[in-house]
Symmetry: C2
Subunit: 350 residues, 2 copies
Amino acid sequence: MAKKRQVTLTDIAATLGVAPMTVSRVVNRNGYVSDETREKVLQAVKTMNYRPNGVARNLKRQRTETVGLVLGDISNPYSAELANAVRERLWSSGYNLFICISEHSATEDITAFESLVDHNVDGIIVATRSNEEGDEHLRDIVDSNMPVVVIGRDFQYEGVDHVAADNLTGGYEATQHLIDLGHRRIGFIGADIKNRGSLKRLQGYLNALKTHDIEVDERLVTGRKEAISGVPGYSTEKMGYEGMKRLLSLPNPPTAVFARNDFTAIGAMTAIKEAGLGIPGDIAIVGFDDIPMATHTSPPLTTVRQPMRLQGQLAAEMLLRRIGDEETPERKERILNCELIIRESTVLPG
Amino acid sequence: MAKKRQVTLTDIAATLGVAPMTVSRVVNRNGYVSDETREKVLQAVKTMNYRPNGVARNLKRQRTETVGLVLGDISNPYSAELANAVRERLWSSGYNLFICISEHSATEDITAFESLVDHNVDGIIVATRSNEEGDEHLRDIVDSNMPVVVIGRDFQYEGVDHVAADNLTGGYEATQHLIDLGHRRIGFIGADIKNRGSLKRLQGYLNALKTHDIEVDERLVTGRKEAISGVPGYSTEKMGYEGMKRLLSLPNPPTAVFARNDFTAIGAMTAIKEAGLGIPGDIAIVGFDDIPMATHTSPPLTTVRQPMRLQGQLAAEMLLRRIGDEETPERKERILNCELIIRESTVLPG
DNA sequence: CTGTTAGCGCTTTCAA
DNA sequence: TTGAAAGCGCTAACAG
């Protein structure tokens, strides 16, 4: 059952008849060792396939130069962008990144946290959606002095920094854009109306309607049947498809739709085309995220771009600050601007 | 500089006036402890914010129930699919997954390996492209008794299992498909002709031409100017764009193109459209991977699907076998079939 | 039921 | 230039 035993420092020392410390000095190239001894040791290290045991070393040093990133929805291209930004920023400060996926449930969130804590990472960045159980665990972890930063997770706790895109304004501007184009019956796909509190994009949509004195028709807001919980990327495409079908079957369907994210929008576009309707002629559509695919759909998708790279960089920097400081710094929060990208799914060129 | 000290088992034991072992027993819920003592301990654990130190525990137990996955090109959707498949398979056996990204260089590969080894993962799955330095390190790691499985990496070594898609046949069939459609001048985008050895898809292309007595025109095979090394996802789109431009500027351009992967194909499509040419009328195009975007391009992209989930599952299983067995099992190799998916970028419907 | 002893593999500190 | 001792935080094994 057990992995074959590793060769240890002591093994080397024993076969060579020197002290383990001597071997350690050679391996870490610090301290004085005679060239002769060094050679002997290096030789043995090679032939015996010795590898230093990092766990033991870390136990002593009390740090691992590693940080963990908990990622939901890894299929979504912008998760990848985020991860890369985080990694690059950490890399330049000599830190390594371990990514844990938690795509479906609070349980997975918690397992990821535990697992990272168990490996004594120096800090954790959490980029999954909020959930009660997970939040509770997270608080415990923070209380045990682990530096933590969250990205786009609705989690307020002393000592935990927070980075997010301004989804509220983003949702507002997407909707406003449709209103400016003359639309009055505007649908929302991807969340239930009762989630307005937790989904800022939906709230932005509602705010925009209100500002322009457009009454909210709750039948135009459609999510999925089951509860929304850690929805993985491509399955949201299906949600968009089904949501759009529901909207189209209404006696008085919308002339425009704002989708929770680009995958959802793409699913909705499929449904619209299947119904023999034109985009944006019959129904205009806006997404959110600006994934690479958005430029390749037909027509190309109008969407709200969020600055993923920047979010990743900032989160990494905030975490490094927490790791570096002896005193726990004040909680910081950064909400980043989004940008409306207008393409042909809402406005025909020329 | 140092993180604020963690509360330890011994701290708890000291303040409670019991033995560390007693606290350990409570925390791990094994062994007999009186209800009274248990309560006291649990109480202290809460109020003092104690968290077990996994590193120390692992040092003792000599295993971590964690495996590492080294992933290149995380922006590519099929990497995400792979990661998920691996994780799900491991999860069901009680193992955790740490993902390391190595997108650019051998150095990053090596850092990832070292970092995982340092954390004493129980095994490593490597899914990055082969490179000399990385391979060398990998051999060292294998020699030190770490279970290793590679996915799609051209790395042959005793004790290292290997899973891959049948890129050779896949490339052959993609090209054959174009030949069957009557094409004779068929380009390849995404690799240099001198990489034919390491890139099976290119070799498949060459083989197909040969079988059908079509002479290879080296000007029709175009890669990028710089050396090919760990090419990240979306940058290959640019490579496709530039490669296609080069092909179009030829005195006698191809009537069909096989692209190294779907991103490359999509980039090429952009170039074709910009030149005012039609797909597949003027130029037919085939990609590789069948990423979700392939169904949404206009026209939808003919491509070769590779079974990513299956590759992930198999790799995980092979690794678990290596971790579990006392004796090192024989090296196993599994090459999985690909499937040609015909869409409108090569054949118009009806 | 609880405590003691020893040691995982390494490094820090001090002594030779 | 090298070695010996102690201990990082935890747990297996044994003793009380």
